[in-house]
Amino acid sequence: MSEAKRFDAIILGAGPAGLSAGIYLSRAKKSVVILDTGIAGGAPILTTEIANYPGVKDALGYELAFIMKDQATTFGCEIVDNVEISSLSLKDEQKEVVTDEGTFVAPVVIIATGGVPRTLNISGEKEFNSRGISYCATCDGDFFTGKDIVVVGGGNSALEEAVALTAYASSVTILHEFDHFQAFKSAIVDAEKNEKIQFIMDCKIESFEGDESLKGVKISDNKTGQSRVVPVTGAFIFIGYLPNSALFKDVVTLSEREEIVADEAMNTGVSGLFVAGDVRQKRYRQVTTAVADGTIAALSALEFIER
């Protein structure tokens, strides 16, 4: 077996939070490795455009991510992406992460693992994924030009993406589990005034139906219990966000929503273990807030290392 690789800090997740932490720590001449189970860059590489990151006007998501990644490696931060983590020990003084790329050891670990879109977990959802079901309007909207589709959800993303999808689809039906939306007033107004958008409120999504591809969505009315199939060839699902915290549930405190709870300095309560970005319990999830978290976590970690 090869020897463990020792660092001052290990960062889990190479999104904006992890990369920011990497930039600060490596610039402070600490040896840092960022391990990512996917591709370095995080959610911005799943985003078409980011228009609200100060200083970078109308950047494509992947461009912003690549700049951050490049900046981190320039300062000497190592990034290993597409790793498979087989075990973690985060409570000891020297923390250990065992991966298919070797074992990494450090006194500090920063968790910056972000999150993933929530899925419905119902029959047909996996089967028709990319055969009618999508989680990305900007990527897949044009496959539904002239088609009837549904959007599942009632928050800002669902309503904004429904409006965006009317550029392609001939009709968009919003399916929502409650009788009211949880979105900003402006998003609701924009959706309501769009002639291509219809609403089915207070319903439960039972299953996705079809053969080789999606043909309909079976729903039931929450009040009457009556079910029916809405015939569509496309379904876009925007029902929120699931933090990537499962790996850490035995080590840190999780909120009801499975977010990692931390204090203002990003301390998790476990010595040497910090958290940053979307995986943390907080109100607003943006690139700017992730970058701020990453900075704070790195500075707290630095203080911890130099103590």
Partner: protein
């Protein structure tokens, strides 16, 4: 052109000869955008690590005319998620996948179809 470190296929002639001249081929046909970049990243890493040295990797811009061969291929006709990733053995399609794939999923397919 896609901003990747993979071989880029730009024309129909290039695409056809790439498929014809190589026994094991993986082509990812997508855009420089969400869902696609992780697949290019996985391919770049697999190519660099030489884990699958018997496989030739390439990308193809979804919006160039040469991409019609893949966009309209029967193996992809039900696909509604970018990118379209297609695997050829001795010129024949052995597998096609739609949308984002992790490195593990890509390796799984490579093992299934080429090993």
């Amino acid at each position: 052109m896609l901003r990747t470190n993979l071989k880029h296929l730009n024309s129909d002639e290039e695409l056809q000869s790439f498929i014809k001249e190589n026994e094991n081929v993986m082509i990812c046909c997508g855009r420089m955008g969400p869902m696609c970049i992780p697949v290019y990243g996985a391919m770049e890493q697999l190519e660099k690590n030489e884990e699958y040295s018997a496989v030739k990797f390439a990308d193809l811009d979804f919006d160039v005319p040469a991409a019609n061969f893949i966009r309209l291929h029967p193996a992809c006709r039900m696909f509604t998620g970018l990118p379209f990733t297609i695997y050829f053995k001795n010129g024949e399609v052995t597998k096609a996948t739609s949308s984002i794939q992790t490195k593990k999923q890509v390796s799984g397919v490579l093992d299934e179809v080429f090993k």
